[in-house]
Subunit: 255 residues, 4 copies
């Protein structure tokens, strides 16, 4: 039997890479794509191999013409059928007033957060539809449900992403393709930055105490639990919209 | 060590009873409460015992004064700490135009769907807060997010339920109590009715074919997967609002 | 021709009374109901008479059995057909943690914010339906769309109110009855309290400067502009949900 | 004193042109921009002149580089300060499954519905901010709040538009700039097409009977009432989100 593939677009050291590791542990061949940092990518792929899992990594600039489409085709042809796709590209450019939000930045936000997802679905869904099953897990942000000062680019891009997810689901849900819009409504623990500075033990200690007790950083490993659960949901009982936040974080709708 | 208790208010043969069975399988002592049908309740408790799990059943009329409060106190005193509570009382009374919706029916809807939840939280949350952890899983309905003709009572009651969940979460999330509002947006497979008519084999066959292929009835066993996942979410990564529907069902926001 | 009646439930010196004055100015007979303060009520009715308008005032405890129903019947029998009803009863009881929110307070919130509206619609809509037209303008609050710590009672009651409005509209819109849910998302200028302390001139000066420039208190006269506009909307172009806030206020969905 | 300008981007014979006529009647100089049909544009401008109003028309392809920016600058320099801007460009391309939604169509939808609005705000808001006042009325569609099968391009573009409106409002509301997102949730009466076929009298008769009694077409003149009301709202009482539909139309949230 062919190993099912989990394709991650945006596989850095946060949610994307961790989800890739988790699916590999469950028997998927994880195909990890990120824009830069070959070394980090190799380390991620290596960590999966060491754990006995299957993984392949590619540098991929998602906004480049045909980059997503060609990768989908190559993975399907050379590695196996993509059973789960994780679209994990963010488009947060920090708080920028309108005057500091260039046309180029606004367009790039759309290319990464909205158009890239459309391109992924356009190239992948015909294959999934033919097979009669498949999942698309879309990492999303609070900006998908509310605008904010300084979020002109991010909110427009993420709002488009959410509505696109609803449209994709409307057409493809009945064909057996599960589209889940996952609203990550809080700060995610980032081992690549803070973790490297402190070293693994001290970093873990910090996360267990300050992180979990006080700051409530969202742990990517635990986020991956939910991604896996969503991919495993029976088709009689699918989730399309879900939110995630730390117990210490105020949901976006609260003051 | 004390066995953690999963208290289910509204433990019929659909979501409530099945969730109770599932948590018992995971090592919880399931305390199952339903308004009537002692025989059905005994059968449910018996099925858990046969599977090697712990369960106790009580008939409970949730709208009766002190019924919920006394049950919470008795369970905590005699069985163990309630780690997970599942509030699964519906208030659907069918499509009724305004003229056919009596004041009594409207008030009863509120007593079951909104006030009962408030009473459960009022009696249970101080205990959970002292312990620093606990989960409240609230089954909800599409009517919580949109009204409809004939749904005057149901929608008002469920809309109140959802806003109450958000308020409870705002106060108690940071105390370690996880409140999840689970929007069940579709028809649930009901073994107690259809299942009894057909017998187990024929019913299962129906569910595997017509149900899953065409009608897309939501299977309570699979719904229970998600309830369990929510209860197990790490507190750095909690879901507060989630929807569930069959792949063949149109989400409520679509035409 | 009969003078059309504008019935205001909750006609204090803020939105309710001001809306009553405004509709009287437009030729309606304003029937103003409030729970207490006969003197304030007389002053309000008197101000309308002085301006050449028609108005009648009644003390009315909306949570009393039959109080709303009897008033509707009496007004329709003795004054004229209710063309516009304004439901302006709030249920804000201040920030109260769960432990300080009594069952009685929670129920009272529902009786005022949700059940009272249901009773008004039950007694009024059959008459409007027979006439083929009518408007129900419902003052609502931010709590109708998001819960918050300390808002257990208010949010549950207002969430129910909003879903009830959607249900009423679904049944009665096609019958020519316009239901508008007006989300007042900010602090309203309160002449009855602050105004009395300062005297009219100083109070107006305050509102023109500090109020409008800085604090952005919502002016009831301007809120009444929008209520009137909604009542006048042509039935080919009705608004069902609208929000209102000061330019200096952050909408509820923002941080 | 300078005549205030009302700039309409998307001034066809439906909402845009009618809103332009209405604002001209109220004393604004209406600047009407549409992509094509010089004759229709001249007729619209002529009708305003005949009614004693001020208007100027321009053909403008909003997706062309600098088209919006240059028009804003020219109008401000040659006609007067833009007090009200109406962004009325749609991006509906009909129901198209994913396979029939080209990358070009998807991008064009974004350029018209999302990016064009961003460009308008970028060029206009610094001027309005300096003056301390101004309004941006944004025509929007149901697709801004829910996706649907065949609406991949439209929903993504309109979802982005709504979130952009919220972001713009968050930054510019406190500066005195009113951004209103107007969700037109129904079919609009289209005099340019149906009206031309039937002639004015027969068309009006149709609208009075079949249209208003049965089909409930939304009348642009009445929609313009609400646009005008929004532009006139006092800044202590602004609406940011409003919906509009015919009394016979089901709101989007209903079945």
């Amino acid at each position: 039997m062919t190993t099912p593939v989990c394709l991650v677009i945006g596989a850095g050291a946060g949610i994307g890479g961790t989800v890739g590791q988790r699916f590999a542990k469950e028997g998927y061949h994880s195909v990890l794509c990120r824009r830069s940092d070959q070394e980090g990518l190799d380390r991620l792929v290596g960590s999966i191999h060491e754990a006995g899992g299957a993984a392949t990594g590619f540098l991929l600039n998602a906004v480049e013409e045909n980059a997503i489409e060609d990768r989908v085709a190559a993975v399907e042809g050379e590695i196996g059928p993509i059973e789960v796709a994780v679209y994990n590209l963010g488009a947060q450019i920090g708080d920028r007033p309108l005057a500091d939000t260039s046309y180029k930045a606004f367009e790039l936000g759309w290319r990464m957060a909205t158009f890239g997802l459309f391109r992924l679905a356009s190239s992948l869904f015909p294959r999934m539809e033919e097979r009669g099953h498949g999942s698309l897990l879309v990492t999303s942000a609070t900006a998908a449900v509310r605008g904010n000062a300084g979020q002109h680019s991010h909110a427009a891009a993420m709002g488009g992403r959410r509505m696109l997810c609803q449209s994709l689901n409307a057409q493809f849900g009945p064909k057996g393709i599960h589209v889940a819009h996952i609203l990550v409504d809080g700060a995610v623990d980032a081992p690549d930055t803070l973790g490297k500075m402190l070293g693994p033990e001290q970093f873990q200690a910090l996360r267990e105490t300050r992180g979990m007790e006080h700051d409530g950083l969202m742990l990517p490993e635990r986020i991956a639990d939910t991604y896996l659960h969503l991919a495993n949901q029976h088709r009689s009982t699918w989730t399309h919209e879900i939110d995630l936040r730390s117990f210490t974080d105020r949901p976006w709708w609260n003051h």
